[in-house]
């Protein structure tokens, strides 16, 4: 990427190490402040508060009102993620702070993981791999698993990612149902106005919506019960979409058919009781973790920052 001139003095705060490529490209252009390397983070912020003009956030590090207030020169929060639930959007708008994210470039990867998790759970890919590696196959055949083709896939949130999941599931002859803020009659999928109804009518429920006040803990006991003892829950949204203790007890008590999880309430902590379950597949928030997509996300973050500091229109503004 061509580097525009004269931005080296602009202070950009990078709270955690997200990607070596992103760090490298930011360092080439800006005065990059690497918060995770500071022995005393609060002091570090205080020391640089008067000069930080941009924050690069991600799924776990955003900008709340307190941080925004402590940085009087803050102009933009460019998130290395599409979900920006960790950014106080209302406050940013109030304060005139711009916010960007990384939509589209990661849509395919995340949808791929949704299907990958579904197949891994239903066909017990991880468990049967362990079965082979431990030598158990020499003692007898693995058990029967469950067919995916033809199962009804319910999608919560039919945005870019939800639609991409639907397109893939259709190739497996899966009838598609969904629940979303608004019905999309142009798509020939079955709409349900509530998540509980959606859960009761599908075999696999994929959480693909944004995390907001409305959708926090939207997957609760009622929904888990409606999905049923054979139903499979796939979470590629945010950990806080699911009432995690409720899901845990449903899985431990055999009231759920299984879960494929890429996100959790307190990453990177994952409830250890899940580790012993064979109908669960656990990924470390890897939905967009391919070399190609991470580079594309980084390029988009850089592109948004450059556009802002060159007074050009932002590439992917949220606020």
């Amino acid at each position: 990427m061509r580097i525009p001139p004269a931005m080296e003095s602009i202070c950009v705060l990078l709270p955690i190490l997200m990607s070596p490529y992103l760090e490298q490209e930011l360092e080439k252009r800006f005065n990059l402040l690497k918060l995770w390397t500071a022995p005393h983070k609060t002091q570090f912020i205080k020391d640089h508060a008067a000069s930080i003009r941009a924050i690069v956030g991600n799924a776990s590090a955003g900008a709340d009102a307190e941080l925004i207030d402590s940085l009087p020169k803050l102009e933009i929060v460019a998130s290395y993620s599409v979900g920006i639930d960790k950014v106080d959007l209302k406050y940013c708008k109030e304060k005139g702070v711009r916010v960007t994210n990384t939509p589209d470039v990661l849509t395919d990867d995340v949808a791929d993981i949704a299907i990958g998790l579904t197949l891994a759970v239903m066909r017990r890919l991880c468990e049967s791999g362990r079965y082979v590696r431990s030598g158990l196959w020499k003692k007898g055949d693995f058990k029967l698993t469950t067919k995916f083709t033809g199962q009804t896939v319910g999608i919560l949130g039919l945005g870019r990612i939800g639609k991409a999941v639907a397109r893939r599931a259709e190739a497996f002859s899966c009838p598609i149902a969904y629940s979303s803020r608004t019905e999309k009659p142009e798509l020939k999928y079955k709409y349900y106005p509530t998540v509980v109804e959606l859960a009761s009518k599908c075999d696999v429920l994929v959480v693909a919506c944004a995390l907001t006040e409305e959708t926090r803990y939207i997957i609760n006991r009622e929904v888990i019960d409606a999905l049923g003892p054979k139903g499979v829950l796939i979470n590629i949204g945010r950990g806080h979409h699911i009432d995690e203790p409720e899901l845990l007890s449903a899985l431990l008590e055999g009231r759920s058919g299984g879960a494929g999880l890429d996100v959790y309430q307190n990453e990177p902590e994952v409830p250890e009781q899940l580790f012993g379950l064979e109908n669960v597949v656990l990924l470390p928030h890897a939905g967009s973790d391919t070399t190609e997509t991470c580079n594309a996300m980084a390029d988009l973050v850089i592109g948004n920052l450059e556009a802002h500091f060159l007074n050009k229109p932002l590439l992917t503004p949220v606020v």
């Binding site: 197949l119 029967l144 470390p284």
Partner: protein, 323 residues
Amino acid sequence: MAPLPNLPEVLIINPPPAFICFESHFTHKFNILRAWESPLPLDQFLTTHAHSVQALLCRAETPVNADLLRLLSALKIVVSASTGADQVDKAECRRRGIAVTNAGNAYSEDVADLAVGLFLDVNRKISAADSYVRRGLWSSRGDYSLGSKIGGKRVGVVGLGSIGYEVAKRFEAFGCKISYNSRSKRQSLSYPFYSNVSELAADNDALIICCGLTDETRHMINKEVLSALGKDGVVVNIGRGAIIDEKALVRCLVNGEIRGAGLDVFENEPHIPKEIVAMDNVVLSPHKAVYTVESVKEGGEVMIANLEAFFSNKPLVTPVIYS
């Protein structure tokens, strides 16, 4: 349960999963001769109890060869639980005028689903990352290593029969570009056709092995093909272990000459080459592509339909060889 009188006899040497899971579906219609339950050695059982049996129901692992057929002089049909009926000496059956049926398309969707699952797993490191999380390493060591994007990958399907077709259809939905090698070009399909599997490998990022095992396809995926595929290439095998030269595959994986593999079948099941047991970029599956409740049930229905057709002199449902 005592068999009902006058039900036609069907011999089973080792019961296929469809029989184990849905036994009554079979025993309501046929008088089953249960060789596996007898204390007698097989040849004695057959000469004592099966000399007039006309139908043999056999699972994929039970070889039906000249030695066995010699002991079944009245045999007229072999009903195989498998898609390929590779375990049946078809030339010998043809010589003896014995019909052979297979499972038809009963398993195609499930096998295709597993091919996609294995491919997604290898490229996105699903099993490896799941293991990483379960060992508590996400909190102690940080994020897992990056995988490889699926969209845009060029995928070469080896064998475009009913399974290969279902595989191609699914991969397309992930944005993969499909081409194939098969015994003959399928005129109704627009995917680019390669008559040579090395050339297919050279032009693709992955090979999905979907063909049956024959004299032609034995060790067809050899060192030359794997070199053509290249160090970024991935192999998925849901056909038969012997289609790949397993020693060559292991060497390529150990030396980093291909990027990874997803394997449901092996040359010497249930033995796995020890070199690949601990490799994170190899996804291992215990020959279970067809083993879902739904497929086993459907496979059983196809076997029963073929037996019923045979005993009522009607056309067989899924013949491999007519008699």
